[in-house]
Symmetry: C2
Subunit: 651 residues, 2 copies
Amino acid sequence: MVDEGRRRVVVAHVRPDVEGGRFPAKGIVGRPVRVEADLLADGHDLVTGVLEWQGPDAEGWQAVPLVEDGDDRWHAEFVPDRIGRWRFRIVGWVDRFGTFRRDWAARREAGQLTEADRAAGVALLTDLARGSDDAAAAEALRHWARTLAAAEGLEAASAVVFADELAQAVRRGDPRRFATVLDPPREVVVDPEIALVGAWYEMFPRSASPDPGRPGTLADVVARLDYVAGMGFDVLYLPPIHPIGHTRRKGRNDAPEAGPEDPGSPWAVGSEAGGHDAVDPRLGTLEDFDRLVREAAARGIRVAMDLAFQCSPDHPYVRTHPEWFRHRPDGSIRHAENPPKQYEDIYPLDFETPAWPALWQELKRVVEFWIARGIRIFRVDNPHTKPFPFWEWLIGEIKRRHPDVIFLAEAFTRPKVMYRLAQLGFSQSYTYFTWRHDAREIADYVRELTSPPVVDFFRPNFWPNTPDILARDLREGGRPAFIGRLVLAATLSASYGIYGPAFELMERQPREPGSEEYQDSEKYTVRHWDIGRADSLAPLVARINAIRRENPALADNTSVVFHPLDNPAFIAYSKHDATRSNIILVVVNLDWHRTQAGWVDVQLEAWGWPDDRRYTVHDLLTGARYAWQGRHNYVELNPDRLPAHVFRVEP
Amino acid sequence: MVDEGRRRVVVAHVRPDVEGGRFPAKGIVGRPVRVEADLLADGHDLVTGVLEWQGPDAEGWQAVPLVEDGDDRWHAEFVPDRIGRWRFRIVGWVDRFGTFRRDWAARREAGQLTEADRAAGVALLTDLARGSDDAAAAEALRHWARTLAAAEGLEAASAVVFADELAQAVRRGDPRRFATVLDPPREVVVDPEIALVGAWYEMFPRSASPDPGRPGTLADVVARLDYVAGMGFDVLYLPPIHPIGHTRRKGRNDAPEAGPEDPGSPWAVGSEAGGHDAVDPRLGTLEDFDRLVREAAARGIRVAMDLAFQCSPDHPYVRTHPEWFRHRPDGSIRHAENPPKQYEDIYPLDFETPAWPALWQELKRVVEFWIARGIRIFRVDNPHTKPFPFWEWLIGEIKRRHPDVIFLAEAFTRPKVMYRLAQLGFSQSYTYFTWRHDAREIADYVRELTSPPVVDFFRPNFWPNTPDILARDLREGGRPAFIGRLVLAATLSASYGIYGPAFELMERQPREPGSEEYQDSEKYTVRHWDIGRADSLAPLVARINAIRRENPALADNTSVVFHPLDNPAFIAYSKHDATRSNIILVVVNLDWHRTQAGWVDVQLEAWGWPDDRRYTVHDLLTGARYAWQGRHNYVELNPDRLPAHVFRVEP
């Protein structure tokens, strides 16, 4: 602290930043983390600095010099090569030698150089050497001090002052007097790539039976893996596979009473057969589940588990831990409700219970149970109905021991709550994409997600449909809408998903007109899907997932650029990889009912291209190629053929 | 910490905010401090909260309920009634009774109310009473629990549930279970109004002589006070009044050598006659200074002192504290320079000296010396050439004992450095206004200054000219430019200043074409000004300062609204007071050479007015009145008459 008053450099406005360092930022293994900061000092002296970082469990710091971008802004990058929690910090100090050299140059230019300047340089180098704790660097600095002193005349001295080797010696040996260190360091949770990039497929195992005469099982899901893999999906997400309660079970189409054949909602977890660590006997056994995970992995597919932390009235916890539930004055347990809506088949856990520490530990045990069986992805049901501190603790605890585990937040709630959940640890999040219909809504939302502060903590996963949401466009737009929304989701967001086979079979019958609920929703009913139907979108889905794999531009969100058009029915955007050698340009006609035509104003500067550039746009959906030139180019899309171009832009 | 896991409410994104609470925000005594925050909780429960605040040296907290604005944003205000450092914090918790009442209403609406709901309410009120540490409130809650239990039938129970008195009892008695408290509290430095609102007049005492045969003195400044007061200024700022060095003194027009009659730059502080705590004998004595401060105060004028922490080679510190200066290897002291520019008449203080604690203490002593002589305003010369930690310490120390003292940062440097200085304590700051010429530049800059985050810490002071800056518009625009820039400065910023008599006498001869330096600058030369000249702008300055005093709309910056015009030569903007009962609309023709006409699009919604409103605009400069209606109104300004309207908008 003795030098506090002489610490002249300020390090401020660091990025990535999540709430001023309160939460870690997010990174992907093998991808650069770009760090930025303001470095400020008083007066005219030059400042300089380094970015320092360390990996999980590392002790020392690696370092790289910061580069100035102007307006006192600096940046540098590091590439985390391991999954886990990384740390970085900025060190900034006054660049005494750089300042001396700059002033020397100015004096030389003005004919003001004197021997006093040379003497000042010799003194400075000697002082740097004295302060350095790198003996070799100190010796080098002393050598340069002698060389500067001995140079014959001021022109020869200038050659010494500007020698690259001298600058290198200073870089190595500078004792960084009165340096400012960003403290505490900032953290970056580095995840596997699947946390950012993945195509998800959701399906109900009980609807996977090839035989309309019986419900599906986990074994049927295994049999359907080739179908899912054939469409090119990375993640297979299953709604809860646990035993389902029978007390106050919901019937078909959410009927308040179930008939004898109604299977109940899988989100009403738990029965005499077990709770969150059990498999519904009608679906199979734990061993069947293990086999599914294995067989999926063999096809490059990860199984995502649903974490629905709530109980049916028949869940074992209700007997063993009644203190984990909220009771009425008459002693009965309160079911879930959002008055006047009643969810009699579900008891929420009471996170305000005095026994909360035991409850937290038990839920952590559940997660670890499935991790031990090979699960690395959890889709968390309604995380916004459990306290924020619980998720921060749970995800932190789990990732401390299993840093490759990721969590998807299924929170469709208020914007700030969604963002908070992402800040406190969720690896990726459902989004409002499902309800963003027109070009401006979509572009505004994507810009928000790909700009600070959101981009530093929130990874989107775009879903055109879910079992809860038969979106308006799909209800009203028919096949073109399914294709268009699929293209949008799959190319706007590095992670996207569909709920199938309802999606590829274009299921679009609402329970009632205007409702987002499906008629005969799988949430309450076993369905049988004819996945071999001739009009299935499965081949198109496969093509789009292949395009995603073949084009690294689509494996990131931040490069997105929107290209204006003179026709608001269209949306156009591009993405490119870091080297701009792979550029994808997507144009979608959002009018699902009519052919539209217009002129796109291609933002060539985004790719570093001149305005008169000639190039080819190669439609990866149809194979067609078009010769384009410059900014203004014609597009026309007939939704009955295809409502979208997915162009690879080829120079 | 035992309840940490049950603390469900998050308090985030608090405003005012300066670097996440690292620095205090700024307030003005008697003016409301509006505090905003996000309050988030999981689930569907309602949240509620209070703003708590305490004044300087207070122990307890005062409180007011937060009000919800939507999107999880809440706000409340407090009015600091004393100068000094205030603190505030937010307390947020789950509103159990509010949630119960909301759910009761929903159930009642749906015909779902049962006796179980009444029982739950009785239990809740009893539980709130049990937790309350306000005995009277607890008794009231128990009374309401009994009343609810006793009500005959559910309709009577409803009347109890919705009774205002019950809500009040809850507000008083709610134990705020698991409340989240913003910790540490945020701080607000509450300043006297002069920190935000003031008209400044800068003049060189040595040019104040009425007798061209001798230089001016402090006594001459006293004699000129009526002139300054007559123009309506609040602050009289004097460049340094200390003894001036003679070694390497600069001559007329910055000549490297002074002639025998050249008085030297007042910023080359110190000679055998004394240093920063002395008065230049040619100007008078400390007693003369005291008299000036007294006489100014008698006219409602505060004297602002220049703090120029640098020394001439003849300053006493050079002998008594050579360790406070930077030395060359040959032992000589380094003068100030910004190569190739040389300031041989000035030795900068070396804030990197190992003796920095003694240096800091001495500079603090200097400030306290002048505070003891009645000075409450310091204009700090080049604060950006001294370390940030020094200013934070100095201003903090001074304001701890003298909270009514304010500091104006004369930093014309890079934007982030200017903002940092304001963050660490400067009460107000010089700005880039001097170089903002066209309408868009001016509007963009004012918007930046009046929006978060800048508005929470930076108070602008707009100067059309300074002794260092003969701005382009003034050089080239003649009398209309002087009038227009005066109107802009005085109405865009609650604090503004002019350097006179150069300003009101429209001095505009540069040292060389295009230079911002004045020919025969007072920095190096004694000038004699004919303040009685017939063409002086003094009467107009007086009128404008009177308008400022008479219209509270101009005593604040944040209400500013820019009104578009169809002619880019114009700028139009308005300000209003909190009740919108005082509205000032300014229109300036920025083309100083030609009459311009156009249509202003009055943003009536800013004043809560309908688009067809009829109103009068009353030009406070000319007395003319115009009947306007609605948004689109005609303006025409001939710069040779007056380039500006300063309208009072009268309904």
